[in-house]
Subunit: 264 residues, 4 copies
């Protein structure tokens, strides 16, 4: 069995979803990628979490050909693969049906950024995709789920999504991100999650652990945004200044939250 | 003590309701049937779950005559028996007062299908029965509770229940279900649960374990539908295409979710 | 130390509130009475539940004179005593600040009977008291809290409380209750709980264990009534027939829920 | 390692937030102060709670100079320091992103005092700060967060915050508080918590343990106020008499809740 370290990390990240209360039965799946090897490791389909062993995980290439594994991979594998191909900076993908985030997805509403908890992780609203067309559903449904996510992050119509921030001019200097993008793209690394309309959230990150972490944060901000709009239906998204301040406390060259690598 | 295997499965299915947080005190009950023997095994009435032993369960025939057991069966037994007689394809029935599903029942509203979590299990809204008449309440109340459920699944007025899907023309080929039904019946095996108005949900399945599983799913989709309508009062049910896609990922001849029998 | 059995039962009933999630810190209190001895045993004030021992409980007479105990009794003792004096059929009183029931009390709204879970325990809405006057608050506040509860159960204006049922003519024959009451009184044994306006619920029963049990049920029906009205703001209370049917499945001479005494 | 007792208390108070369910991941922080030594002890930034040891806590002076500690202090330290300097009577500060209180902060709404649970701890609404200006965010953000809190407690416009009580004339006699304040100031010791707009709650108290305790209470009253307004959008704050009665049952010279020091 190859890729033992990646298998361990992906297994542990899948279990993070369980520990944080995001999972019912066999719902949800996390994958991780070794870019050097071109290998994706993902949870098998429909196997109870408490029986999962590292060897049960399925290893595939970026086209979905199975390299190792006796079990079927998660049926959502094609969605993960589209994301790995389109977002070169990510190393892990997490999908759950966590209840509040799924409800925002079912309501077809982006999660507005109402406060600093959200701004700490997402540089704007958590967007919701367009509903999929009948043609997209009929053929290659899971792959098309990935495509509709990718489209959400390119050429987005900013006016249509409340509280998505324009990228400030000094963005690259502050974050250290050098990814080429058109002016109106959302940077997928600054908004590491999305709601698939009428389905559920996907999240990602530099590795499988951070992808699962971001899935947990999506659920937390979904809960609080739900309560916030119920308390005050006219609640407003935070201003750009507060949004940037909190995001850059945790991200980029000027971050000062947490310990430096050497200290940890 | 006969039927030891059925007793074990029914006991474990009752405990599934407890483990999944659907139960307060002695609320709820699950039964299972051996069609070959014509024997139903059900939880006794009002006995705490943590003291239940297989021998405490009550075995009856399909008319409710007690075959084995020193305790009274659940007072809801007549409802279970009506369902076993009317729905020949089911092998288990689960009843709970789980809080969100019960609240939809109290609100006398079907649970719309707002997303793929729901579509994975129910091929349409979870319907709500008509309120029972005073005459139905006065005599044979529990049996009439079963009858009002059965009526909900026959001759239903599709217009009156949002998001109940018409059965597609190639339905039998896809699912392998060959049950004879009139055109406008709901297939009870494709919508394995119901809300009894002002009471609570009932769910069923091929055996007691799957009945309890479906009771848990009814509660999960009830929670998410509650949040969804609160976020967006104009939230729409999913389209038929997405609904069918997800349902048939898990059910019928073309299912591709989970492992095949040989793999498991 | 006298009354060891009553002390054990009252302690265990206090801990029931903790086990069922009704308690934060030292909130809440349960008492029990020995009518034969004229002795009330109650939780001491402000002592953490996990340190409570039977000997910490305080024994008083029905005027509140301390018979045994080194600690101060719960500051709500005078409320309990008023209830014991006014409601001769009760043997235990439970008070909690459980969150949903307290919220109905804060909203100054009775909890309507929306379904059979409620009807199984309360023969009508869980009523809410009138707000206390400044004079009632200024002097003998806790005693007056008891008085405002008692007033809620006598000479009640039925029109002002939705879903409070008139007592049916054959009530005594069915229940076996022979308590003398005016026609328009609510029978405190048929509605064993109340919301004190802007404060929290009190519940009672034949003994301390059943008082705590009813406090748990008040919270459960408060939760479900909250969800029900959110799903359907026009949700209606159940009809009288269904209400009586469920109440008398569990109470009175014709009850058929649970096991008979001999069977248990 | 100095200040071992303060370190133990601050560590335990941080863990209180975890035990009471207020914390996700590394969110939140509690500090304590030794006024005699002029030393503040606070949680380090971004370290998981389950690995925290007393020696990981950071000791600083009141200007934020680190006296002891190899790790960075919480990035919110400057906010704590402003509070210690402005509020001479406090000995501990607790900050969390607990979900319901944070949602009220995100909704920019004070938490009204709807009942006695609230009145037991806060002599008025839990106020919400003004949103911070762009200039306050751009420079010394965390220090300015403290300043906006302090401003909330001085020269407040009572009309703008529902249910904030005027200080009664005999206030000092009853409470024993002799703190000099202008007539229209809120007494920070009578309202030991605040919501920072679009951020989250801060709470404080005579020591770190009571600060954490008050943070838990803020969350509990936030939950119940959320439910209360959902049940009854026209719910009213409690009258002044009931408010004072409950507050002074627990605070000041005439308190009679709990045990006297000698009894405990």
């Amino acid at each position: 069995m190859n890729f033992p370290k990646l298998r361990e990390e992906v297994l542990d990240s899948n279990l993070d979803l369980v520990r944080q209360g995001l999972v019912l039965y066999t719902f949800g799946n996390v994958s991780g990628i070794s870019r050097a090897d071109g290998v994706v490791v993902i949870k098998p389909s429909g196997v109870p979490y408490d029986r999962l062993k590292p060897g049960d995980l399925v290893a595939t290439d970026l086209e979905g050909n199975i390299l190792e594994g006796d079990l079927r991979p998660s049926s959502d594998l094609p969605t993960h693969l589209v994301l790995y191909n389109a977002f070169p900076g990510i190393g892990g993908v997490a999908h759950s049906h966590s209840e509040y985030a799924t409800s925002w997805a079912q309501a077809r509403r982006p999660i507005p950024c109402f406060g600093t908890t959200h701004a700490d992780y997402f540089q704007g609203a958590v967007p919701v995709t367009q509903p999929m067309t009948d043609a997209e559903i009929a053929t290659n449904y899971e792959e098309n789920t990935g495509q509709v996510i990718v489209r959400t992050f390119s050429g987005i119509d900013y006016e249509s999504i409340p509280a998505v921030l324009e990228i400030s001019e000094d963005y690259e200097a502050n974050t250290g991100h050098a990814i080429v993008r058109t002016f109106r793209d959302i940077d997928y690394s600054a908004i590491p999650g999305v709601l698939v309309a009428n389905h559920a959230p996907f999240a990602w990150g530099p590795d499988a652990k951070s992808a699962a972490h971001n899935a947990v944060i999506v659920e937390a901000v979904a809960r609080m945004a739900f309560f916030t709009t119920a308390i005050n239906p006219d609640a407003q998204s935070v201003g750009r200044k507060l949004h940037h301040k909190h995001y850059f406390r945790k991200h980029g060259n000027h971050a000062y939250y947490g310990q430096t690598k050497e200290e940890k």
